[in-house]
């Protein structure tokens, strides 16, 4: 698989809050080969804590992206970029504010899901791609896929919002707030100014532990840990697991990014711009919406809300509630059936796009 990692820099990006960031960098990776007419490009959107490294060794969706996989890199050119506000190469609160020469920290402007997508649009333009074959993502990545379809419908042939929602429920906001409070309660957080000292590792790790609980299900935790005790440590397996995931997270994630990105997710509300059915009116994009039976963080009713609105406008939408006991994590781990669906859906999207391109399609 041909893989490239790169950074694109743009002169500026206007944010929803009214502030203009200048300049803005965007870290991204690509897999596969862009064809001559640039018609096989897929933008894959990472979830809250992901990054641009989607495929290959250690990639967050490596089981979905690659030769012969759900996103088949023999056929497709897959792009993944780190989101705005992130800490893995794209401009975020940990980046240097050019006006002061110091990290932005909490003076970084508030960002939104729309801002993230606007930066991605710049990247796609930069790559010379007029129309994406598809935009796909789970969880927060799914929000971005929806945003793409609503804001740039003429630039996306298909959208795959997976295990996601048009707006966070009180429960989803509540869990994010616990994470934020854990970080801010850590004295090392220091109002966000920790870049020259010790990062708020304990707070960030607790935030991540809470997150991991919400990504699993009662059943998957029972199967994975039960009440087993770790030998010699006098500690339940589940405790060790959460501590491990928490401490691992601290090494790769910035606490301030956690605050900014969870805020962006919580404030996202597609319905504020109008009734969903109105937003989806005349949308030419095909949709594949997926949810998972045991996902209680992004329950299937949230996906169905999207699907019902699309159907009420007679949009082209496929929907499946996949059986899994992995909870919200399912879109990352329960991939066999998901991959088969995605592969077939994209293959038919590609066929139709080509038929239209060569004039054999319907007008």
């Amino acid at each position: 698989m041909i893989t490239q990692a790169a950074i694109a820099t743009f002169d500026n990006l206007e944010l929803d809050c009214g502030i203009t960031l200048a300049p803005v960098t965007c870290a991204y990776e690509t897999y596969g080969t862009l064809n001559d007419d640039k018609s096989n490009a897929i933008l894959v959107e990472h979830a809250f804590s992901g990054d641009a490294h989607a495929a290959g060794e250690g990639g967050w969706w490596s089981n979905m992206i690659g030769p012969g996989k759900g996103f088949d890199t023999n056929e497709l050119f897959v792009i993944c970029s780190n989101v705005l506000g992130g800490c893995r190469g794209t401009t975020g609160p940990g980046s240097i504010n050019p006006a002061t020469g110091c990290p932005w920290a909490m003076s970084f402007p508030a960002i939104t899901i729309s801002d993230m997508v606007r930066l991605q649009k710049k990247l796609i333009d930069h790559l010379g791609i007029a129309r994406l074959l598809a935009v796909a993502g789970g969880s927060m990545g799914g929000m971005q896929a929806l945003e793409w379809a609503v804001v740039y419908p003429e630039h996306v042939s298909a959208a795959l919002p997976i295990a996601t929602t048009t707006r966070h429920s009180a429960q989803q906001i509540a869990f994010n707030e616990v994470g934020r409070q854990a970080i801010m309660a850590d004295p090392d957080w220091n109002e966000g100014n920790y870049y020259t000292g010790r990062p708020p590792a304990r707070g960030l790790s607790v935030a991540r532990m809470v997150g991991h609980i919400t990504y699993m299900s009662d059943e998957s935790m029972r199967q994975k840990f039960g009440r087993r005790v770790r030998e010699g440590q006098n500690r339940f397996e589940v405790e060790s697991y959460l501590h491990y995931r928490g401490s691992q997270f601290v090494d790769r994630f910035d606490a301030n990014s956690y605050l900014y990105i969870t805020r962006a997710m919580d404030s996202y509300d597609l319905t504020q711009r109008g009734a969903l059915s109105t937003l989806f009116e005349n949308i030419p994009t095909r949709f594949l919406v997926l949810s998972f039976t045991s996902d209680w963080l992004y329950p299937s009713y949230q996906s169905l809300e999207i699907v019902s609105a699309l159907r009420s406008r007679n949009c082209d939408v496929a929907y499946c509630n996949l059986t899994s006991h992995y909870g919200h994590d399912a879109f990352l781990v329960e991939v066999d059936e998901q991959a088969e669906l995605v592969r077939g859906f994209l293959a038919s999207t590609l066929r139709e796009a080509r038929a239209i391109g060569t004039g054999h399609g319907r007008s």
């Binding site: 095909r286 594949l288 169905l304 699907v307 019902s308 159907r311 009420s312 406008r313 007679n314 082209d316 939408v317 496929a318 929907y319 499946c320 509630n321 996949l322 059986t323 059936e337 088969e340 669906l341 592969r343 077939g344 859906f345 293959a347 038919s348 066929r351 319907r362």
Partner: protein
């Protein structure tokens, strides 16, 4: 007269003939999307489906057909009026809880409705019931009464009477016995009835 088959199904072949090219088609209870995939490929229709069973939905989507996983009776309510040229219900009418509501819903969202259903009036049913005195169990209705998905039993004659009562216009009626079309005594001889009809 012998009838072609699509994936071994003669009712699919008849429906395939009824559907005009480049139209919008909704298949209710579409299973793995075989008929829709065929219509897409051969009639270049805009194909949509509704199916309850997750495994079938997965196969249909993997085949490139846009299928929605859900209950067809409530799914009907979401679509706008006259969203489709054809709304198809093949071998499922007898399984619906509210068949009349389903049929009326089909005519609301589609210009034409196409239904195919097993004919409870077929001679084998009558004979089986007469001779055994039990709930009929034949090749056509192979289930025991207690585990049958079929909850409403109708004959092709019943359907004609309902259409009359509702003021529907039946545009095509076709009857199948095995892979052959039946022309005489359909209520006795047809195993499957296929009707294409439109609203009043």
């Amino acid at each position: 007269m012998g009838v072609r088959e699509i994936y071994g199904r003669s009712d699919y072949a008849l429906i395939g003939e009824l559907v005009e090219p480049h139209t919008r088609v909704l298949d209710l209870g579409c299973g793995e999307g075989l008929l829709l995939a065929w219509l897409k490929e051969n009639k270049h229709v805009e194909a949509r489906g509704v199916e309850m069973v997750s495994a079938s939905v997965q196969k249909a989507i993997a085949r490139g057909v846009s299928v929605y996983q859900g209950d067809l009776e409530s799914a009907l309510e979401d679509y706008p009026d006259k969203a489709f040229d054809y709304v198809i219900l093949s071998q499922t009418l007898q399984e619906t809880r509210h068949p009349l509501r389903v049929l009326r819903g089909m005519l609301r969202i589609g210009n034409q409705a196409i239904v195919a259903f097993p004919n409870f009036g077929h001679w084998s049913m009558r004979l089986n019931h007469l001779l055994t005195g039990r709930a009929p169990k034949t090749e056509l209705f192979p289930h025991e009464w207690y585990d049958s998905p079929n909850i409403h039993f109708l004959t092709v004659h019943d359907f004609e009477l309902l259409a009359q009562k509702e003021g529907w216009r039946i545009e095509r009626r076709m009857y199948l016995s095995g892979h052959y079309q039946v022309t005489a005594l359909p209520n006795l001889m047809a195993e499957v009835g296929v009707f294409m009809f439109s609203g009043a």
